[in-house]
């Protein structure tokens, strides 16, 4: 009987700590791995191959296509994306999206879009 009572006493502060953590915003959710954009400098337009891209950036999270102007040919798009959110009542979100353009199996360019936003409850 004493044990049950002690456990109850011990669990109360833990519960309070958990609630405080939730209210203060200690929840972290991560999706994907941020791409190492410093490795883009090693790529050469029209020269670096898909193997070079895989070596530099790893396997993409998704693939798409783009045609940026009528005069330009269709490009394959490799997508790298990561999102990290932190907080519950006030959410801090860091996201990164890297789009790599591939033409005829060669690196042609990229678009790197990082952002950090804070959302609050209203």
């Amino acid at each position: 009987m004493r044990r049950t009572s002690k456990r109850g006493r011990r669990s109360a502060p833990r519960l309070v700590l958990l609630l405080c953590a939730a209210l203060l915003g200690c929840g972290t959710t991560t999706y994907g791995v941020p791409p190492d954009v410093s490795r883009l400098a090693a790529l050469r337009r029209g020269e670096s191959t898909k193997a070079d891209l895989l070596l530099a950036l790893g396997e993409p999270d998704g693939r798409g296509a783009a045609r940026l102007a009528p005069a330009l040919p269709r490009e394959d798009v490799w997508v790298y994306q990561s999102v990290r959110t932190h907080g519950v009542l006030s959410v801090h979100m860091e996201s990164e999206m890297l789009l790599v353009l591939v033409r005829d199996g060669r690196y042609e360019g990229h678009l790197w879009l990082p952002s950090t936003i804070d959302a609050s409850l209203r």
């Binding site: 609630l19 879009l113 950090t116 936003i117």
Partner: protein, 138 residues
């Protein structure tokens, strides 16, 4: 006496459950929101390609939420600077299906001058559903 002691953990658990319920109830109807969506129509109208400065962009759209780069086909030289703006409004919090409005804007620069922009936004038809195994966005 022993019955009273046995019921203490239960009472604490019940109190915690009620507190969490009250917290959830208090959160229902609340939305998570960032800064307001940017006025893209006005920005498109006022920003002149090749002449508008970063100061002009900041005046119209505010401080960017991120700074990236672009190396696009047909572009000469190295990567150019891109400013990223994002806004989000999602809620109500605590509901099984919340709605979200998002806006993303990219502003392109060439040698510190405005060189174009691209943006889109969603209406509140975007529904975020909670599922048992993971959250999903539709």
């Amino acid at each position: 006496m022993s019955r009273v002691r046995q019921s203490l953990p239960f009472r604490r658990a019940a109190t915690a459950a009620v507190s969490l319920g009250l917290l959830a109830a208090a959160c229902s109807g609340v939305v998570a929101t960032t800064t307001s969506a940017r006025d893209l129509a006005r920005a498109q109208q006022e920003l002149r390609r090749g002449s508008a400065t970063k100061g002009d962009v900041t005046r119209l759209l505010g401080v960017p939420d991120g700074r990236g780069e672009a190396l696009l086909p047909g572009q000469e030289g190295g990567p150019r600077e891109v400013w990223v703006y994002q806004t989000l409004r999602a809620g109500p919090i605590g509901q099984p299906a919340a709605r979200a409005q998002m806006q993303a804007v990219m502003v392109f620069f060439d040698a510190d001058r405005f060189d174009g922009m691209m943006g889109w936004s969603s209406d509140d038809k975007l529904v975020i559903r909670s599922t048992e195994d993971a959250g999903s966005v539709r």
